[in-house]
Amino acid sequence: MGTVWIIGGIAAVAASFFLSGGDDIWQSLDAAGIAAALYLVVLAGFTMRKPFRFRTRLFTWCILLLAGTGVYLDWSGMSETAHRQKESLLRIRGTVSRSIMLNEMPAPLMKVLRSYCDQPAKKRGTLGKAFQAMYPADSVGKNIHTPFDQQDNLKIVVASVSDTEVVLVGQETAIAGIDVYKKNFDGRAGMVQARAVLTERGVRYEPEN
């Protein structure tokens, strides 16, 4: 009889765990936890029946209720804390990424702007030509960012070069931004992205996700 109870319990809880499986471990754990709680209630009800006295039963149910409350509070608190920590880590990574973009993207454009403004007005030419003169190897579509290390997935791409405007787009390939549905420059969705634009009015920086 005891073996049936144990095997039955294992089967029910394991089935709940696997059948509710998603990407998040907590989905499976919560489903299996509910199954385990129901199993414990049924098990306690079955084993605590007569000849156990009413007082013993009442005491046991009170202890079970208290223990269950403690487990529930710890369980839900831990779930919230873990998700918050994960979210926080990803947010910090996004912030670091945005800071790197803000540091890396405007710098070459500002350099071009300085050189452009330092030339006499009659000899200035266009912004596009000034950019190409300073960075002849950086054509449209090229990633101009040199990774800091193997974990650096940032790309800074020359998006467009015209007489009046030079556009750089910075995009992460593995770091999620604020809007998960936002279409990225390279066709992905939801990644951190920003744009730096050089015009005759200066350098503009636009965070996009």
């Binding site: 009889m1 005891g2 109870w5 144990i6 319990g9 294992i10 809880v13 394991a14 765990f17 990407d23 998040d24 471990i25 499976s28 754990l29 299996a32 936890g33 385990a36 199993y39 414990l40 098990l43 306690a44 084993t47 605590m48 000849p51 223990a67 403690g70 487990v71 509070l73 710890d74 831990m78 779930s79 919230e80 804390t81 873990a82 998700h83 920590q85 979210e87 926080s88 880590l89 990803l90 910090i92 990574r93 800071s99 803000l102 500002m110 702007l113 300085r114 403004c117 007005a121 974990q151 997935n153 593995a174 770091i175 999620a176 009015r201 200066g202 350098v203 503009r204 920086y205 965070p207």
Partner: protein, 239 residues
């Protein structure tokens, strides 16, 4: 006389099994203490480790899913199915007098030791984690506000640098910050505002305030010639 001897034997047996159970409990606590995982039987703690590992992987730019799902299930099955079942079935067997008394006692003690070690410490743990959660929530809100402000200040600083470089004909200051005004769309945003607190030919100081932390601020000092930035923080942002 016989009854007395039987009662004594029962008492000795209970004492022996009680000591065995206590030793097992102590061994479990000692093991968890030495292994550095004070809650090895807690499935939710193992799940939390997995979730945080996912966060760390995301932080590193990796998309791998950490292993450990079976550890979670094993802990749940041991702590919430097998051991409580052993405990309740052992207790019932002792109460009804069916089956071996010694086996029933052993089931009761082993099952009870693990069940108690899983459920009892969860109360203080829950209280501790709630307290920590509130503190972290406050800290994180301040960090987010500070990061947003720093980004806003950096964007204004970039605009000011452009102003410094551009000639007056293009709306610039020609190597000076004199006359610089923060564009309206950059000066205030949903969560805060940025204002000029000091303006000189080659020096600009910008201060940002967050709506959520009006007593706190971030100061950015910008040197136009060398484009050197320096940040300083006030109030809750001085973390």
């Amino acid at each position: 006389m016989n009854q007395k001897t039987e009662a004594n034997k029962g008492g000795v047996r209970r004492l022996l099994f009680g000591s065995l159970g206590s030793l097992l409990l102590l061994a479990a606590f000692y093991y968890s203490w030495v292994s550095g995982h004070p809650a090895s039987f807690y499935p939710w703690v193992i799940a939390a480790r997995i979730t945080i590992q996912e966060g760390l992987n995301g932080w590193s730019g990796w998309s791998t899913v950490p292993a450990g799902r079976f550890d979670v299930l094993s802990a749940l099955l041991i702590g919430f199915v097998v051991c409580p079942a052993l405990f309740f079935l052992g207790w019932r067997s002792l109460r009804t007098g069916r089956g071996s008394r010694m086996a029933a006692m052993l089931l009761l003690i082993i099952g009870g030791a693990v069940t108690v070690s899983v459920s009892v410490p969860s109360f203080p743990d829950a209280l501790r984690s709630r307290k920590r959660m509130v503190e972290e929530k406050e800290q994180r809100a301040a960090w987010n506000a500070k990061d947003n402000l720093m980004q806003a200040l950096n964007i204004v600083a970039l605009d000011a640098q452009s102003y410094w470089v551009l000639p007056p004909a293009k709306g610039g200051g020609n190597n000076s910050f004199e006359g610089y005004r923060i564009p309206e769309h950059l000066g205030s945003h949903g969560t805060g505002r940025v204002a000029i607190v000091k303006l000189g030919t080659g020096e600009l100081r910008l201060r940002g305030w967050s709506t959520a932390y009006p007593e706190s601020s971030v100061l950015l000092e910008l040197d136009g010639v060398g484009n050197r930035y320096s940040f300083s923080y006030e109030g809750a942002f001085r973390l």
